[in-house]
C-alpha cells in the first residue's frame, strides 16, 4: 500500500511538477473557452440560417454538420497539423486544436439548436408573424429563446465532451495538462504526474458534470416524470 502511494501519489514529485501541470491547466482553460465561444456561436448562427430554408444553404449546413459529427477529431488534428505544412501552411498546435474542436462543437451545436427550433410549435411562428414581428423578429424574439432553452441540457453535455478533448493537444505538442504530465512522467520515472493530470482534469471538469446533471434533472422535472 505504501508502495502504491509512493508510486502514484509521491508528494515530492507532486510538488516538483505541480507548476507545469498548473500552467497546462491554464492552456487547457484558454483553448477550452475559445472553443466553446466559437463553436456554440457558429452552431447557433448556422441553425438560425437554416430556419430561412434556403435549400443550397441547408444542404451545405447539413453536410458540414454530418461530416464533423462523423469524423474522429484526432484524424482532423493530424491532417491539419501534418498535412498543411506540405502545401506551405503552417499552423501552431494550439491553433489546430482550436480550429478542429470549434468546428466539431459547431457541428453538434447546430444539430442541437436545430432540433430545438423543430420542437418550437408552428403556432408560435404564426403568432409572431401575424403580430407583425416579421420573420427575423419572430426568429429572434419568439423561436430562438424557446429553442435555446430546450438545447441547453444536451449542449452542456456536448460542450463537456468536446472541451475534454483539449487533451488531444498532447499528441501534437500543445503544452496542456496531459503533455506536461507525460513529460514529467518520463523525467521523474514516476507515475505520480499522471495522477496529478487526472486530478487536474477532475478539478476542471467536475463542475461541468454537475452543471450537466443539474440541467438534466430540471428538464426531467419539467416533463413531469
Amino acid at each position: 500500500m505504501a508502495n502504491f502511494l509512493t508510486t502514484f501519489f509521491n508528494p515530492d514529485v507532486m510538488a516538483r511538477y505541480l507548476p507545469d501541470v498548473l500552467s497546462g491547466m491554464l492552456v487547457a482553460v484558454w483553448i477550452g473557452l475559445a472553443v466553446v465561444v466559437a463553436g456554440v456561436l457558429t452552431g447557433l448562427a448556422l441553425a438560425c440560417l437554416r430556419t430561412y430554408r434556403i435549400w443550397i444553404c441547408n444542404i451545405l449546413i447539413v453536410c458540414f454538420a454530418d461530416i464533423f459529427r462523423a469524423l474522429p477529431p484526432l484524424v482532423l488534428i493530424l491532417l491539419l497539423y501534418f498535412g498543411l505544412p506540405g502545401v506551405g501552411v503552417r499552423l501552431s498546435g494550439p491553433m489546430v486544436l482550436f480550429i478542429v474542436l470549434s468546428l466539431t462543437l459547431a457541428a453538434f451545436a447546430e444539430e442541437i439548436f436545430w432540433a430545438g427550433f423543430l420542437s418550437v410549435d408552428r403556432g408560435q411562428w404564426e403568432a409572431g408573424i401575424s403580430t407583425g414581428l416579421g420573420f427575423g423578429g419572430t426568429l429572434l424574439y419568439v423561436a430562438l429563446p424557446q429553442a435555446v432553452r430546450l438545447a441547453i441540457p444536451p449542449l452542456v453535455n456536448r460542450v463537456l465532451a468536446i472541451t475534454k478533448m483539449t487533451a488531444l493537444g498532447s499528441v501534437i505538442g500543445v503544452s496542456e495538462i496531459l503533455s506536461a504530465a507525460t513529460t514529467a512522467q518520463s523525467f521523474s520515472g514516476s507515475a505520480t504526474p499522471l495522477s496529478l493530470a487526472a486530478i487536474a482534469y477532475l478539478v476542471l471538469f467536475m463542475p461541468l458534470v454537475f452543471a450537466a446533471r443539474l440541467f438534466e434533472r430540471r428538464r426531467d422535472q419539467n416533463q413531469g416524470r
Binding site: 508510486t7 454530418d66 469524423l71 484526432l74 482534469y201
Partner: protein, 221 residues
Amino acid sequence: MQNLIDQFFNLSIMAKSLPLMLSGLWMTARLCAAVILLGLAGGLLVALANLSPRRWLRLPSIVFTDIFRALPPLVLLIFIYSGLPFAGIEISPFAAVALAFLLNNSAYYAEVYRAGILSVGKGQWEAARSTGLSQTQTLISVVLPQAIRNVLPDLLSNTVEVVKLTSLASVVSLSELLYAANMARSITYNASPLVLAALIYLVILWPVVRLVSRFQRRLAA
C-alpha cells in the same frame, strides 16, 4: 492547386497504403466490437446500480459516472497504459484500450440507459408486478425492451462516439486505422493516407449519423 491535390489526394499513395490501412481497419473493427459490447453491458450494470433503492449500490455508481464523464478518455488511456506498469501490472495496448474505454463508455451508456428506464411509466412496473412477475422479470421482459426502444437514437449516437474514440488507440501504438494512416503518412511524407482514413470513417459513420438525425426528428415531431 496541383500541390494541394498531390499533398492530400494522391491516388497512387492512397493505393499503396491501402493494404496497411485495411489491416488497421480490421483492428479498428475488433476494437469496436470489444468496446461496444463491453460498454453496453457495463453501462447497463452501472445504470441499474444507479436506479437501485440501495444506497451502497447507488452512491458508487454516481461517483463512477461523474468521474468518468469528467476524465478525458485519452488521459484515462495514458494513465492505464503508462501508469499501471509502475504498479507492476504489465498490460497490452489492446487490453489498456479496452479497459480505458470500458470505464469511459460504461459511464456514458449508463446515462443513456438510465434515461430510458426512467422514461418507462410506473404503471408498467405496477401492471407487471400485479401479475406476479418478480422485479428482475419485470425489468427484463417489460421495462428494458421499452427503455431501449425509447433511447435508441441516443444509444446509436453514443456508439458513433465510441467508434470515433477508438482512433485514440493510435496514441498508444495500437495499429488501428488511424495509426496505420499516420504511419503511412510519415513514410511517404504525404497526407493522403490520413485523408483516406477520414474517408473510411465517413463511409462507415455518415449513414449512422444521418440515421440518428432522422430518428431524433421523428421523436421531435
